[in-house]
Symmetry: C2
Subunit: 334 residues, 2 copies
């Protein structure tokens, strides 16, 4: 299996990309094509003594910056490191794409260079977020600021299939983010979506989900518009940081703290590992015809390798074929 990796997307590119790719080759037995300035990539690999086994380069000088208008990917930045990765994917030269670059540009590339699955109204970012009992899938985590009820319904459907096929969770509980538990709560978007979700017998819809229940693990698929989703994702990151700082403050200062840390080492490191988004791999762009994985902008080596692993699972589990089939079945039924 061959995976394209955007060599110049993300805060720690290109070093973290090279290290992550090498780690993924070693751990998961995939081949990786890294896009971007080959001279810089080779020089960086040499300086950091990174093995090039299983790695290929696809040379291009241009990079699309994080602040640039996402649609420039289709024109002036068509042959940027990200654009090139999309070309490789659309031409079938790789099986999947991973990038830690701009979310907007990845959504644009997935939508216009790869295309949406027939019947899908909008592609959505689906992020795994840590919570008390493990983790949940948040869709949409930031691709679509404004949403219609049918879009949220499709997010619920695609999210459920992703958890079933890639994460092995049977009949995942779907919750609709709302400001109250009753079905009459929220704005028009929430009210209309509620009815669509309730009527879809293929979903395990558990009703409206007040945000209080999200970190406590009350749903497996947390459905909302991309503005709300992005707020939930980032607020959770902030809280994770806060929790981490709190543990540091408790345990790394003073004799009592250090002594306690030694006593509780296993528990604390388990907790920190569980709260580390890097362990959760990348976020798939659901709804497009080929596997596209968005890695966190601040991804390090570990996060990149996990995102590549994620891409491998999506390919192996034929997630996209499943979504496509389910949509076709649904159309037949309807």
């Amino acid at each position: 299996m061959k995976i394209a990796l955007d060599g110049f997307g993300g805060d720690h590119a290109p070093l973290a990309m090279l290290e992550g790719a090498a780690l993924a080759v070693a751990e998961y037995g995939v081949d990786v094509v890294i896009t971007g300035d080959e001279a810089v990539l080779r020089k960086t690999a040499l300086e950091h003594n990174i093995s090039l086994a299983g790695l290929e380069f696809s040379d291009t000088k241009d990079v699309i910056g994080i602040c640039e208008e996402p649609t420039t990917l289709l024109q002036e930045h068509r042959d940027s490191s990200l654009g090139r990765a999309f070309t490789l994917l659309s031409e079938g030269k790789v099986d999947a794409l991973v990038s830690a670059g701009s979310t907007g540009a990845i959504v644009v590339g997935g939508t216009f260079l790869i295309k949406r699955i027939k019947g899908i109204k909008r592609a959505a970012i689906a992020s795994m977020v840590p919570c008390e009992n493990g983790s949940y899938l948040l869709v949409d985590a930031g691709a679509n600021t404004d949403c219609r009820p049918e879009m949220l319904h499709q997010f619920a459907m695609m999210g459920s299939m992703y958890l079933e096929s890639v994460r092995g969770i049977q009949r995942p509980r779907v919750g609709l983010v709302n400001i109250g538990a009753e079905e009459t709560k929220g704005g028009q978007l929430q009210k209309d979506t509620y009815h669509l979700l309730e009527q879809d017998k293929n979903l395990n819809f558990t009703g409206n989900l007040e945000a209080r229940g999200i970190p406590l693990g009350e749903a497996d698929v947390v459905v909302c518009d991309g503005f709300t989703g992005n707020v939930i994702l980032k607020l959770s990151e902030g809280w994770g940081k806060f929790l981490n700082n709190t543990l540091k403050d408790l345990f790394l200062t003073g004799f009592a703290g250090k002594f306690s840390a030694a006593l509780l080492l296993k528990k604390i490191s388990g907790l920190r590992k569980r709260m580390n988004y890097k362990e959760y791999g990348g976020a798939p762009l659901l709804g497009v015809t080929k596997p596209v994985i968005k890695a966190h902008g601040s991804s390090d080596k570990l996060a990149i390798s996990k995102a590549i692993y994620q891409a491998k699972l999506v390919v192996e589990q034929q997630m996209i074929a499943r979504i496509t089939k389910a949509l076709a079945d649904q159309k037949e039924e309807g």
Copy 2:
């Protein structure tokens, strides 16, 4: 000073109301009028040995339930315990109102029975939420699902004045909740609000605020629509619960945990106190002509006493007169 307390709003009414009122009388030197079924209130006080010094009763049998349509407060539940409290406030028989009842009904009562300050488009709930360095003010925390830019601008203005006058924070930093730091990010509501906030020289506007920065204390006044605000408020509560459970799991299980807890007792109890929303008193309904304070639905004795204290501060600091004057000044300038 005399404060009306809705005796039958909230999960722990009427007992927590009686206990909280008695505590507030003792601690803050206020008088409290408790509304609701006097026979039940007196019986409960007797059974729990609660002092009635400084307390009065205003007898009414009806209660507006948490699931009832908020506007029923204006008709069939006009003389409920909450409706009666609004009557006392509107007739000038008390200086402020505190209720742990339905947010919707409190907003309706404030808006239609007390009226909005001239020029204010919508009343908003302003909640203090704990964060890393202390706490921040979230407006709107849930009164208005759909908002326009001028409304968010007024929330920012009122929130700043509240922090300045009641909490003594000079030039509080105002952040607009958005999905990116650049001013071009977000939907139309965010873009238009950004320009209004930027142009208002009376505000210390620090720009768009990504949700990651909220728990880390990057703004003092966190401005958003009521849907987003409610999600932020409740997600933060859920995370607080998660943090609390985590600390319990770390420290209350096993010998090493208990031993460490003993060593770190002071730090842990300080942290738990800081994360306890009950310490933060109630949330004022900003934008109405008299002091109305919403206490958390699950308020206990301590939370109710703090909410009453909050009401006292709002009266003493003449917060409403300040907002009214600032609006008049603004109108003159404009």
